[in-house]
Each structure stands twice: as C-alpha cells, then as structure tokens.
Symmetry: C2
Subunit: 629 residues, 2 copies
C-alpha cells in the first residue's frame, strides 16, 4: 500500500500582501522532514546571501514536521528559522506548546514569511486559509493583552497565538517569539526578525484531523509508552527542568557569576524542589505530553508574579539567577514573567547582563554608563529594571539590547573578554569545562552557543545512559572530562540524532536518553505515521543533511572555521566548585575540532564540506553555494 504524505506550505509576502499555498512533492518531505532541515531547504533556495537579518529581504519560517501534532508525547515543537540578527548565520529556535499542532490542524506544515508590512499586522490562519490583518491596535502592548484581544476579536478562545512582545517590536537582538505566553522560540533573535517585518502575531485555529497511515499501530506504541512511564522516573514531571540546578552546582557545573565558577551557594534556593515547595501553583504541559515538566508559579511578595506566563525553566533560574549570583526565587520568577510580557529570551538576557555586571565589577562600566543602576552581582532589583529598559531600548538598555558581542564592541576597553557568546549567540546555562564534548558542540553549532542544537550531558557519558543510545552505535562509557577521539565520535553520532529530532519537532525530554521514547520506537512510530518504509539509518541521514546544510548556509554568509571558537573564559580554569581548576585546553580543543570536521567529511582544517559529502547526502544542489563563500 503506497502512502502519499501530503502537506501544504503557506507563503505570505507582507510587502505585497500576497498569500499562496504550495504542495511540495513527497520526496522533499522525506529528505527534509520538517523543523530546521525543511527550513534550511527553503532558506538556501530563496534567501539571497548576505541579506540584512532585520531587512525585508530576510525570510522567516515557521515549520512543523511530518510528525507534528500527534498524540504521542514530544511531537509538538515547531521551528522558527531565519537569518539570525545575533549571529548573521543560520538562526533557528524551537518551541513546544500547542501552536505547532494547531497550525498542522489548520492544514499547514509551515509558513514562509517574506517582506515587511508597511504598518503593524498579524496573520490569521484557519481552515486552509490565511489573512493578513491590521495590528496597529496591538503594537506596544504586553503579550498577555495581545492574546486576550486577539481571541476576543476573532471570537474563539481556543485560538493559539505565536507572537512577539514589545522587545521584538523594538528589535532587541535577542527578542523571542512566544506561544500561549509561555512556550518560547527563545534563541537566535527571531523575535527581532518578526518585529522587523512588523508582524506582531500569528493566530491559528485548526479543526482538521491529522492523517495517519496506520492509526492502530501508532496508538499501540503510545499506549505502550504511557504504560511503561511510571512514577516520573527522572523527577522531571514533579520538579521541572529546574530540578538540576542544585545537582549541577554540587557537581561544580552550575554557571555562576558569568561562568567564573561552577558552584553557587544558593543553588538550592533556586532549584525545582524549592520552587515546588514555595511558588509552584501548577504543572503545565505541551500538546500530547504526559510528563508535564512545565511550571506555573504565582507570587505576591516581594514581587507579584502572574501565573499566566508559566514559570521559570532551568535555563532561566540559572541565567537570571546563579549567573548573576541572584538566589531569590521570587525575583527570578518575576524576571521570567517580565521576559514573557515583553518577549525577551531569558538566556540571552541573563548572559548579556552577566557580561555587564562583570564589566561593572571590573570598572569597565560605571554607574555613569548604567544610568545610575548599581550593576553589582546579586542585585536582583537591577536585573528586573534592566529587563524593562532592554525591552524599551531605553538608555543603558539600548546597549544591552544588542547582546554581549555587539555591546562589548561598543564599550571597548577589553570588555569583550567578559562577553560569553559564540558567533554572537550568548552562552546558555551549561558548563563545557565540566562536560568536554559540549565545548565542541557549542563551538561548531551552526547557531552558536545553543544547548538544544546538541544537548550534551554527563548523563550520556555514564554507562546507564549509554544503554539507551546503543542503537546509535555508541558503546563506550566515557567520563565527562574525557575529550578524546571517542568523545568526538560520540558527539558526531549524537549530533545526527538530535538533528533528526529537531527535524521532526520532537522534544528532547521525551526521547531517550532524557525521556521515555526509545530511539528505535521513534523510528517505528515514524513508520506508522508516514507509511514510509524508513529506518534509523535514513532518519540519521536527515540529521547529517541538516548539519551540512546549516554549515553551507553559514559559510555562504561568511561564518566559518574562524568562528568555531570558544570564549576565552572557557579556556581559563573554573575558580570554584568541585571542578575548580578545570579548563578547556586550547590544544585539545583544536584537535577535537579538527577530528570533528574530518569525521563529518569536511576539510579538517577549514571545516568546509566536500562536494562529495553533499552529493552523498543528496543535497548536491547546494554545492554551487559553496563557491559563494
């Protein structure tokens, strides 16, 4: 029985207000699946090299996948992708929630947005149709207000809304896109891209059933999975992602004080357990997922925190907590709420502020530069104030809104050594000095320092976790601090795995080794959904295809080997915690990177993919783009 996967792509040109629908041939879906990979398929074809990320020529893509919107846990993510205003390279970020599945039910796998509206607009997508509508009345409003207004205006409370906030409107370089006010495409500054197009929101309502090739088999797999998932084995459901903050601190790996140390004395105060005992009011979740790791928090004092914005993830409690030496959970929760209100990526904001605080401590910035704000580490009031000023690009906030790389350039005076970013993307809250493969992952990630591009963890490096990744051919347990060729191989294989998960919009917390879905079962499930006689081999080839397409995109835009480097701080020893003294040895790093390039089939020195590798992956059509580098 042949199965034709059918899907539609919505195309919107905001300049001409033209809307059209395209139905790609099935092979496009099978080779690119969705997410970052399918986005790259369009970006590489249609985005002119060296376009201004904040100009009308940039293309913003919202992309689900052939697997999106199903009742299995984890298949709810969609990718937002464009040329990034932070890195000037490939930018992408995924968000869970309900918006992706809703788009799919509305009849579309993806939306490709070009051009720029002459005045603020929003997009209304429903039942195989789309309209561009005026959003002048929404411009400048907080995100919760906009959500409420749109639902009222469109007369349906079940409408799902992906939107930017005032930060996106104001082109804060790390502005985010949110759906349901709490599921976030955080990284790469895609909210600024959306803002530059004067597109405030995309409201979606879908009522179609998603077609499935073999519903019985698909449901059987989900049932089995549900039954095998007992007692929240990792604690993720009960304690959320923030559960790991104290664990990481005890292991010397909690980013603290702008990565100066890996130990934070108040780590318990900001962890998931404390959150549960204090401000937690509910557990949120995403479409189809029974893990329920999302948080909902409420506080009255010292800050009033509105639960509509959910609650802080681990990344947030570290980025605007330990990284700034802030141990006040209510302040962090307030910061999380403000970032939600304004549409700011908490990670990038935290890392940018940590840069400013260290510059302030070292006297490079003074209160004259900060408009009087006392930017000492630990000052949570200053942190909260900065969010508002950044969102409004007000005074000192205008500088911070540029992100650490550009801000450091403007400041000069050696400030760049406190700017923790890779390719302009601020570092997320994981410590490469404690898990060496992450140093490589961050350096070579096409989106810069991005923990979801290649989520590595010491967990993988223990025998227990390894059993789960045996299907990838990773058989050797490797200590976290190992940085050998074996570690590089592990990284290469895992990268292809995570690139695949990205392509199908699957949440890493639902797939092994983090979550319950065994790797080979994901393949089986994919077969049931699509009807394709596919295999892990074919799926990991998609992962490899992604890595190569993203690499070619970046090379074309001028990013290459010279940019695959770590901030100087990571080459310096950790100053505190049980890993005190650990550093990334530059020599070891250079060797690992060369080995990585070579293992990928790229030139070991320049990191340029060979035309043979591209042809092997059936993406020979991008070979000509290499010559534009």
């Amino acid at each position: 029985m042949a199965f034709g996967y059918n899907g539609k792509i919505l195309r919107v040109d905001l300049s001409t207000r033209k809307i059209s629908v395209e139905e790609p041939e099935e092979k496009v879906y099978r080779r690119y699946l969705g997410g970052g990979t399918l986005s790259l398929y369009y970006l590489l074809r249609e985005l002119k090299p060296h376009s201004d990320p904040l100009g009308p020529e940039n293309i913003l893509i919202f992309c689900t996948s052939v697997m999106s919107g199903l009742t299995a846990p984890g298949f709810n993510k969609y990718t937002a992708a464009a040329k990034s205003p932070l890195t000037s390279g490939f930018g992408e970020s995924e968000a869970g929630g309900w918006w992706g599945p809703e788009l799919k039910s509305a009849g579309f796998d993806a939306i490709i947005i070009k051009g720029k509206a002459s005045s603020p607009v929003y997009l209304w997508v429903h039942d195989d149709q789309a309209e561009i509508r005026d959003a002048s009345h929404l411009w400048g409003k907080m995100t919760a207000e906009v959500q409420e207004s749109l639902r009222k205006e469109l007369g349906d409370n079940r409408i799902r809304i992906a939107q930017i906030g005032p930060a996106g409107e104001n082109l804060v370089r790390y502005a985010c896109i949110l759906n349901e006010l709490k599921h976030v495409n955080g990284r790469a500054g895609l909210g600024a891209v959306m803002g530059s197009k004067k597109l405030r929101a995309i409201a979606v309502r879908g009522k179609k059933n998603i077609e499935v090739f073999n519903r019985e088999s698909a449901l059987g797999i989900v049932k089995q999975l549900r039954e095998s998932y007992v007692d929240d084995p990792s604690g993720l459901g009960q304690l959320g992602t923030a559960r790991v903050a104290p664990i990481l601190s005890a292991g010397g790996m909690l980013p603290t004080k702008n990565f100066i140390t890996g130990f934070f004395e108040k780590a318990e105060d900001i962890g998931g357990k404390r959150m549960k005992e204090t401000i937690l009011t509910g557990r949120g979740t995403c479409h189809g997922c029974f893990i329920r790791c999302k948080r909902e928090v409420k506080a009255e004092k010292p800050y009033e925190v509105d639960p509509i914005y959910g609650g802080p993830e681990y990344e947030t409690v570290a980025a605007i907590g330990s990284l700034l030496e802030i141990g006040n959970l209510e302040a962090i929760a307030k910061g999380n709420e403000l970032c939600g209100k304004y549409g700011i990526d908490t990670i990038s904001f935290g890392t940018t502020l940590a840069f400013a605080m260290e510059s302030y401590e070292k006297g490079i910035l003074t209160s004259k530069d900060t408009d009087g704000l006392d930017l000492k580490f630990g000052n949570h009031e200053a942190m909260l104030e900065c969010i508002e000023r950044v969102a409004r690009r007000e005074g000192f906030g205008d500088l911070l809104a540029e992100g650490p790389e550009m801000a450091a350039k403007k400041i000069g005076k050696g400030a760049e050594k406190f700017a923790l970013h890779i390719k302009g993307q601020p570092l997320p809250m994981h410590e490469p000095r404690g898990k060496k493969s992450l140093a490589l992952a961050y350096a070579v990630s096409p989106t810069g320092a991005d923990h979801l591009e290649n989520p590595h963890d010491p967990f993988f490096e223990k025998e227990a976790g390894l059993i789960d990744i045996h299907p990838l051919g990773i058989l050797d347990p490797l200590p976290s601090l190992d940085f050998s060729t074996h570690k590089v191989r592990m990284f290469v294989y895992l990268q292809q795995y995570y690139n695949w998960l990205n392509s199908i919009g699957m949440c890493i917390f639902t797939a092994k080794p983090f979550g319950p879905f065994p790797i080979t079962k994901i393949v089986e499930y994919s077969r049931a959904i699509t009807g394709w006689d596919t295999s892990l081999w074919e799926m990991l080839k998609v992962g490899e295809r992604f890595a190569n397409m993203a690499r070619v995109f970046n090379l074309r835009e001028g990013l290459g080997e010279k940019d695959d480097r770590l901030p100087e701080r990571l080459h310096q020893p950790l100053e505190g915690g049980v890993l005190k003294g650990e550093r990334i040895d530059p020599e070891e790093f250079a060797q690992a990177r060369e080995m990585y390039y070579g293992m990928m089939g790229w030139d070991p020195q320049s990191g340029v993919p060979s035309k043979y590798k591209l042809e092997e992956l059936d993406i020979g059509w991008i070979v000509p783009q290499l010559s534009r580098t």
Copy 2:
C-alpha cells in the same frame, strides 16, 4: 536484561600443531559481527604485510557470525578469508550449505589457521574441541571420495566437511573450498591457500543448541516470513539461479564469447527452465532455507553426471556455457561436476578459458601451445579436458591454472587484452555495460571482480525493486544505463548494506530486494538473536567498517587507485545483442570513481581513507597501517 554474546574462536597453528581457544570481548562481536569484517579484524592484526599468499605466513580464516546457524532462511553462510593468491590483496569468499551452522553448533564462531603442515592433514572439530589428523591417505583423491572416507573414519554420517580437491593441493590459483561437495567458497583462490598449508579438509560435527536471546520473538519473525512467502514469487526456487540466463541474453547482458557480446543464441538451452525440463532430479537447499534454489542434476549421455555434486548455478552455465559459446547443458553439467570433483571455481575457470579461446581465435595461441587441443569457442569437449589438465597442472593446464592475468603475462604478444579480470580476479557473469553501477562495483571491490561483494542488478534500478530498499534512503528509480552521481550514491548505500549481510553471513537471495526478508526485519531479527538494542544505522556502520578495513588491507599490500580499473574490453562497445554499442565511457567511469572515493570519505584522487573516517568508524587502530602503504 543484559545479554552477553559469548563466542569462541578456534586457533590452529599447523606448523607447531598448537591448538587454542580464544573468547573475544563482546564489543569485538558487536563492531565486526562476523564474516569478512571479523576476518579482517584478525588479518589486519595478525598477518604481516607483504606475506606470500601461498607461504606458511598467510592466515586462513573460516568465519561464521553472531547470527549464523539460525532457523531463519539465509543465515548459513560462512566466509573463508586470507590474502588472495589471485589478487595479492584481501581475499574472501562465502559458502552456504551446512558447514557454517555445524561449526557454530560445535562451539566455534571461527577458525584461524596459521602455518603449514609438514605433511597432509585434516582438522576434526567437534564439541568445543579440535584435533589435527593425518590426511596422507586422502591426498590426491576426488572430493566425494574424501567425504566418504572421512565420514567412515570418524564414524558419523552427519559430519559436515569443508575441503579442497586436487586443484587446491596443486595450488591452482583459483582452486575453491567446498562443503557437502556443492556449496562453494569459489572466488579469490582460497582453495590454493588451504592447499599451500597442506590442509585437505575440516570435518565438523556440532551438537550444541545455539543460544538465542529472545527465542519467541525470533521464531515469530521466521513464521511470519514463511507465511508471507508464497508461490516462489521470483521463480528462484523452481528454476534456480540459472533461470536468468535467457532473460539476460534477451536484455543483451549475458556474457558471451569472452564478453564480446551480450547475446547468446543458445541461452534458452542452458537456462533454468530447460534444466528443469531435462536433467534436474532434485532441488537442494541450505540450512534453514525454504527457497530451495540449489540444483541437483543427473545425466547419462553424452556425459555421465553424478548428482552428488549438485548442479550448475547461473554463474556456471554462463562461465562454462555462454562465455565459451557452449550451449550444451549436459556438457556444462559435466563441467560443473568435474570442477566439484577437483575443487575448481567454475567462474574463474570459465573466464580463464574464454581468455585462452579468444587468444586462440586471434592466433596468439596455437595448437602447439595448447598441447594439440582445438580451443575454438563452442568446443565443449576441449572445455572438459581443460578442467582436468588445470586441476593436475598438466602441460597447457599449468598455464591456465595461473588465471588470466598471470597467464597473459606469460604468453605476452598482447594477450592481456583478452584477459577479463580485475586485480587478478577473473570476471564473473554480469555485464557492467548493461548495468553501469556494476562497473564501479567491480573496479573498487576489494576482492576484484566479485559479484557477491556488491551484487548490483537492474532489478534494483526499477521502481518495484526500489521500494524494498527505501530503508537505505534510496528513493529514486534510476535506469540501468544511468551512471550519474545518483547511481554512485545508490551504490555506496547498497554496498554498506551488502557488506553488512556479508558480515552476518546472510545469503543475498533471502534478503530484500532479491529475497523475502525485509531489511528492517533483518534488524529486528538481529535484535532478537543477540539481545543488542541495535539498529540499521549501527549495522550499516559495520558495512562501512568492512569497506574501510578491506581498503586499508589492500593499500598496505600495494593495491590502490591504479588497480581500481576495468579491463579494456568493458570500455569497448558490446558487439551484439540489444545493447550493441554500449560501453563504459572512460571519462564517466573516472568521474564515478572519484565521486565514490569522495563519498566514502576517502581521498577523491588516491582513494586512501582519511584517518578521520577510520576514527569515526572506531577503527582508529588501523590508521598506522596506512603509513605502510
């Protein structure tokens, strides 16, 4: 539940008469599985570079796999491997039948044979034990006699015997090894290696049950397979492999008259259908297989043919039939019997004789050179006579016993243009000019022109066959005559697949697309048998590992890019049949080869694997061997 795959390797040193047993760690089994790959693991470690293939230093390995001996169809093959006296590179050849499963039941996965006996011996393996025994009384005897003697001597009629015949004793360079007198390790001259060690036979008797991780699941898969196999869909069971001779001739691809043409007017006379209507007396099979493609033939006149030697395969009806313009099926059956009696590879013999016949036609050889034999094409009596003379290395037979490459060198006078071999291995009976990927397969095969190393067929290149190989990521139907980059990619992916099947000793006629076993089911079956949480990804990596190990072995022995070439004839147009005029364009070939090298992660010009590729495959330990090239 953890499962430890346990296996034992038997080591025999014929010079010192020392026997020992080794138990490799499980990871060795998981990375190398068995067959050619596990053989290369030992050859690369233990065989000194530049050893004389026929000297005591060569190492001869008989290797089953982690999957061998099971009740599913196809898992009965074992590999014989050594440095080849035909190619001076990696030599291997697989045989089905019962010997491999019997060895496994006797307690061993493999036998590694070193040294050389001072006088003829045989090996007697049973119940975890082995003995070296005198074989002086067997030396010089026909294979059927030896089988009978040994069974009588050891008092057990169920003993399985792998042996050489007089041709192996006499170091005929294409002597074979046979088990049950009709299952043959034909290619690469491994019978000569065995003869050089004065090892006439290995008698095996096993009574152990083979351990299986999940018997219920394994049996379920086999049951399902058996039930889905109805009515001999391909005709392979009813008509045997020789069924294709007339089909190929009609398609212009039946090697005829030393590859001058692809059409043989008597093709019907030598095909499987005619065989069934005339001399067929029974259908044989291999351990565990319900297809029963093997033949048993009997004739009284004009030649008496003993059914104990089975019957001719397709390769044989072409090699000593159409290739020599012989259309007499009884003569072919007699030739098949004689090759079985003496232990000669029918393919290599046929291609060698075709070389001699064309040299004779062109006047380069005369009846003075041939000891009076009238070597004109079509002379089947001369063909039969030559088998005996080759086996005994008698007069002109001594020259032919060297194979076409060496014989042509001895003859001189431009004879080499009629010598159809690659790296010294005579061409088997498939026509690269009619299926272009085969030109590449033959040229780069580590064992030279070897149709089982990379069995390509136009069948793959039609949409119907393609569906079966979708799990390999091959989605595009490609015409047989296409020689584009897409074809090279298809070849690269299929090669990894077939290398995997080789590693697990699986018969290609039982696996998709030739046979009933779907690719993803083979993986599922592997999981049930070994208990490993493995995947097609991990398994194809073994296939890739094989290709790289074999390549490094050959480079180390002096074989490289200069040897990856086709005989001149294939660059000339076919002179007859519906593909008249087709040739392998040297330019296209060179481009395809460069693309292949590059896609493999090898230097596109020299074909040398990069150290990065070897490290990626976890065979970094062979990197130092590259510097010996």
